[in-house]
Amino acid sequence: MKKFLGILLLLAALAIQGTAQPQQVTPISFWHGMTGVLQGTINALTDEFNAQNKDVKVNLTLQGNYDALNQKLLAAVVAGTPPTLSQMFPDWTAKIIEADALETLGDLINVNIVGDFPKSLLDENTFIINGKPTLLTVPFNKSILTMFYNSDVVKTDDLPKTWDEILSKSIKFNKDTNNDGKPDIFGWGLRVYPEIFATFFHQNGGSFFDKAGCLTINNTAGVDAMEYLVKLKGQSLYQGGFLDAPFGEGKVMMYIDSSAGLGFAERGSQGKHGVATARLPRGRANSDGMIQGTNIGLFKTASDAEKKAAIRYVEFLLSVDKTIFWAQQTGYLPVRASALKDAKWLEFLKTAKGANHQAIVDQFVNGSFAYPVEAHISAWGAVRGFIGDAIEKIMQSKASPKDALDEAAKLSNKEMKKADCI
């Protein structure tokens, strides 16, 4: 009886609300894996959008971290209950499209925005569907590999411009403060993960796939790059964890990492020494840095109203204003070419806070690349894992670069069902 009364009251309340608010509100959900400042910023942007668009309510849901988000997304796709929008890395996207669960977001949003994406970002979001390149997702929180350095110690002249200079210039900063015969302050800090390898490989003139679609990281360019990294390890502080900590403590003068880590580098160095960024040193072929970060995808399960609302929200996030705001707050890149030329952005680069973004943007505009479309496959997660294993073995001197990369290539090609590759 009580329950029944309660339901009646609820219905009455809804009815009253319905009459008071004639406008229909379309709720949409956006799943993400961003914490800290990123979460604060996306919350603020979303609040702003919700306030401006009374007919839409965007519900942000943090799914813990990217790994958990990935698993939940895949489960939800299988169960047919995905959100309206979600962050996703290209290899997740590849898996999700096997279930034909994604709308072609690139075709739905304003063409002016699509036309304004820098090429490396377009590359990264393009998938081959039925033999046709298709812009399935749109870039959102994008970063690029950048060089960080201690500006109190390292002067502009000391900055390495080439791989050889990394070796020759960084070693000058190695210091043995406790006289145990081993340096405890290092010119260079090194952490090697697949994207770092990918960058050195690319800079060395390597390309990931041959014409047949076989992974070719074990070619001369790859082996050579790994050999170089092993050599670099010998004179550097090498560790598996983030380098912002030893950098902040003054134990490392220079290192390469994702530009998204700028905030952490600055926070760790605050009050101790200056932090600056620079373009990556040049390899044999080029000085490109690799694009990283997630993109946004729209799910087919959403209703038309939800899709329309979602598109508006995505266009809002990708508007020149908001992508600049996002970049300023988080250290990620503005994802539109026109944003990079926008007066507000240029103004920002001149501020103390924005100064370090100059080199990052320069790297982005003049030297960036992404995994090629061939890597936009669901097996890429496993392939990346094999590459990671090979790196681990090489850096721990458990295998020669050639052997380890051969092994990784073999396993990868098998995983990608490329039987004909050698």
Partner: protein
């Protein structure tokens, strides 16, 4: 004559060895204790430092220059930790109690009862141990989220974890070790199965049972992926989920993370201290028997 002398010599040698053995034992134990405590110490010192502060190296220990208790406040305020704690406690307590009940009853049924289909059921129960959790993730998600619509409910967070083959298996094994006459004596005294299980059998295996409970509490408290999978609403989430707010792909706020971690393990440490006495009592009782 000669043999007495050698015998005494031997005795002295043994004494010496025994004494030295004891010293070595204590030494090893101390080192192990230190190794176990070190991470805790590191947690505490990290939780108390400023984000940009270097830790002073003091032998193998790192001490912060200044103590920043406000890290705890800041960590607490990063997320609705009050709600998270409530959820964690509620879920862990209910899950643990229900799990203990099903483990005891299931273990008892397989150890002491005879019923049709028992063998097949037992094999099926053991079979579930062989299935890797990853394989079950999506089927579970479909069952709970899609068919039962249990997303964002405590049902999804509690019910699937209240029964496990492991618990049933473990309890069955310890029940089997108990003499059969205990049941027969109780039966003659007028006990039914449930009363026997609760009043006679479980007290015999209390250390195992309590340990199982403590472990289950840990595991439940530690649950992360499951919570993410079945909740979207922030007020359904748990402390462990909250801890992930301090790490990201590009860096970690160690001082806040550790502050929050300390808060998160505090109840567990407390629980352990509470149960420890019971555990030791139970264990020594077994040892004396």
């Amino acid at each position: 004559m000669n043999s007495t002398v050698t015998f005494e010599r031997k005795l002295g040698w043994w004494r010496l060895r025994f004494g030295a053995g004891r010293a070595i034992t204590y030494l090893v134990l101390s080192v192990v204790a230190l190794l176990i405590l070190l991470p805790f110490f590191w947690m505490v010192t990290t939780a108390l430092r400023a984000p940009d502060e270097e830790l002073i190296r003091f032998g193998p220990l790192l001490i912060p220059r200044h103590v920043h208790f406000e890290n705890f406040v800041q960590a607490w305020e990063t997320a609705p930790f009050g709600r998270y704690f409530f959820n964690s406690f509620f879920i862990a307590i209910v899950t643990t109690l229900a799990f203990l009940a099903t483990s005891a009853m299931g273990g008892y049924a397989f150890a002491r009862l005879r019923f049709p289909g028992q063998h097949i059921l037992w094999l099926a129960t053991l079979g579930t141990l062989m299935i890797p959790a990853e394989v079950l993730l999506i089927p579970n998600f479909i069952t709970l989220a899609k068919w039962l619509h249990w997303s964002d409910t405590y049902y999804a967070l509690i019910i699937p974890w209240t029964v496990s083959a492991f618990g049933i298996f473990l309890m069955r094994q310890v029940f089997l070790q108990q003499p059969k006459e205990l049941w027969e004596a109780a039966r003659l005294d007028g006990c039914g199965h449930l009363r026997f299980l609760w009043q006679i059998l479980l007290p015999q295996v209390r250390p195992t049972f309590l340990t199982l409970g403590v472990l289950k509490f840990f595991w439940t408290w530690d649950m992360f992926l499951w919570v993410v999978l079945f909740t979207n609403a922030d007020d359904m989430r748990t402390v462990t989920f909250g801890l992930y707010r301090f790490t990201s792909e590009v860096g970690t706020s160690y001082e806040l993370w550790m502050a929050a971690s300390l808060m998160s393990i505090a109840p567990i440490v407390l629980l352990f201290l509470l149960v420890r006495r019971q555990l030791i009592e139970g264990i020594s009782r077994v040892g004396l028997r």
